[in-house]
Symmetry: C2
């Protein structure tokens, strides 16, 4: 009943900071003993793993003399440190680092559970995905990753509940990117053109509002959505090798795909995007002629084993067409739910709601390991 | 790691039957040792609690000579039988019996966990609600009741995730009855009168399709919705004494409220309901004049501590207005989610989806007690 939990956190960006705030307010928080950012690692001294790092004052904690400070540690070193703690250890990975994700098996085999919003471990090579869950079984550890799809929305947990109770999921479909949701809700709202802004203007506005990645091409290339669909498809049993082993429509015009990935390339991209506005206007107007609107969606057709990411037309009175702001919507069609899907909708991006998925996963892991 | 789980089930109605089917297909099912219906109880013989009752052949299992058959047992007797099993015991209550729900504390104090879609324990007197959760702590047992609101939809679990991670829920609102959803989606569809059926005709049609309770007054009096709202309000911390301690609008015309609750009373009710169609037509048309539609909803306003159940007007392009069939929709407004709520939508009634919530809860209880 009185298992002591020891927590390591890697990453103090937007999600990491929000997570630390939520952690500081938990009534029964685990003991924070490792906090790592890219260049610095803060540790509770061994062998006592005491004192813990105060989550509420993590910014100034590195000045505390009784905590250990080092540079970056390797995954092996961190796994050894955490698994030697005198209780159950959990690592929260709040980065989007593919190298760290590739090391999850090291942690799991050592009995360290993983909680993370980092999509990389679950959406890269299928072999890594499998190794992660096999390592968890071997190490008697748990892996929770609710926030890899739809941030704090209960997407992964609902999908697991459906499959674990024997329902047959036939189709998953939805808007999985807050950025692309905002772009199309603004560019092609229900009821016609509205303000009639051009595509490049809408993208520029979204970038200014902070709704896109610093380089908007990271949203427009569709790869973030492709990674989420890869995760969902694998959870219903499809063997998706990588996130580019199925059709992903990029919204980066062909002529601009050669620009390099530097900040300079991003600048040129934004300057030249307007040259291709006519293409997007055509797509929008062709949908309007059919009484529909265009949206950027992802779908998994389970019986056909097809995963797709790209533009699609929707009836104006459909739930997808009616989305507001930067909301996500995810529809699960299953045998039990019949013709009307089980739908989950709401903010699918943002530090607080993403961190909520992480905190909620952490509580579930603690409940199960208690 | 190899905790043995012993399961007792009470109730083999629509949900109970669907649950037994799902249980029979679970890869790691608990051992079924008690199956009780109103007049008969089937038990695995003590002290070995072997053999188990085959979930797949439960209908014919009472003919098996090596199982024990008795009449109805008291809650105390069942609790003693289950808690003496050589492992962790779980009781699934698939009835809607208030007396059984009032005995949950007896089971929980004896260490028997409870999984149930029965609303009575959580929506009757506040003192029972509190005693249930206090008894669970004392007995080191768990209580899961996802299917008490929205059937298998992840409503209770999502609300618990929001509150346990420190979000501030400000408002909960939605359509919580599949029956009333169907009635209003048919009677007052978006876009005007449609087929133009009278209210009493729509109710009669729903009754024939099996969408209402055998006595439709059990849906129209709003009490089922009031019980669900009572549960949600209590989970966000409001001290709701009983499900009739807040305003609940009944759709039973005043003039018919004196009819007795017999089958004869139900028959007279259905015969006379048409006399009051003009009232419902007025309500519908007054909404249409404002460009709105009328729906039967429940809401919890947390800062104001107000719970309400009744008719309300909604914009035609709102998610509530756009509901289809007999779907439920539940919107959570919270501090983190801001102006756009977290929304869950889908079938909120039916044996299979209700049983799914029960099965999913059972798996979670087993994961936590392992």
């Amino acid at each position: 009943m009185s298992t002591q939990f020891y927590l390591g956190i890697i990453g103090v960006g937007g999600v990491g900071t929000a997570f630390l705030q939520q952690l500081a307010r938990l009534p029964e928080a685990p003991k924070l003993i490792l906090l790592a950012r890219s260049t610095q690692t803060l540790l509770s001294p061994t062998p006592t793993y005491t004192p813990g790092i105060p989550a509420a004052e993590w910014k100034t904690a590195s000045a505390t003399p009784d905590l250990t400070k080092t540079g970056a540690l390797s995954p092996e070193e961190i796994a050894k440190y955490l698994s030697s703690a005198p209780g159950r250890a959990i690592l929260v990975d709040n980065t989007s680092d593919p190298a760290l994700a590739a090391s999850y098996p090291i942690f799991l085999r050592a009995g360290v559970s993983i909680v993370t919003p980092n999509k990389k471990g679950f959406s890269s090579d299928l072999s890594l995905f499998r190794e992660i869950f096999q390592s968890a079984i071997r190490g008697n550890a748990l892996v929770y990753h609710e926030s890899t799809v739809g941030a704090g929305l209960p997407v992964i947990s609902t999908l697991r509940d459906l499959t674990s109770t024997g329902d047959e999921v036939t189709r998953i479909e939805g808007v999985f990117s807050g950025t692309l949701s905002f772009l199309f809700n603004t560019f092609a709202p229900v009821g016609g053109s509205g303000a009639g802004k051009k595509w490049s203007e809408v993208v520029a506005e979204a970038k200014e509002l902070g709704y896109t990645e610093p380089d908007p091409r990271d949203d427009l290339n569709g790869m973030d959505v492709a990674r989420k669909l890869t995760i969902l498809a694998r959870l219903v049993g499809l063997e998706v090798q990588t996130p580019d082993s199925f059709p992903v429509e990029s919204l980066i015009p062909k002529e601009l795909q050669g620009l390099d990935s530097s900040a300079e390339g991003a600048k040129t991209f934004m300057e030249r995007l307007g040259e291709f506005d006519a293409q997007m206007t055509d797509i929008k107007e062709s949908a309007e002629k059919e009484g529909k609107v265009v949206r950027f969606v992802g779908s998994v057709d389970v019986p056909k084993k097809e995963v797709r990411v790209g533009l699609q037309k929707f009836d104006q009175d459909s739930a997808i067409a009616g989305l507001k702001g930067s909301d996500n919507i995810i529809s699960f069609y299953t045998k039990r739910y019949g013709s009307n899907p089980l739908i989950i909708q709401g903010a699918g991006a943002g530090g607080d709601v993403t961190a909520m998925g992480v905190t909620s996963d952490l509580l579930k892991v603690m409940q199960r390991l208690r």
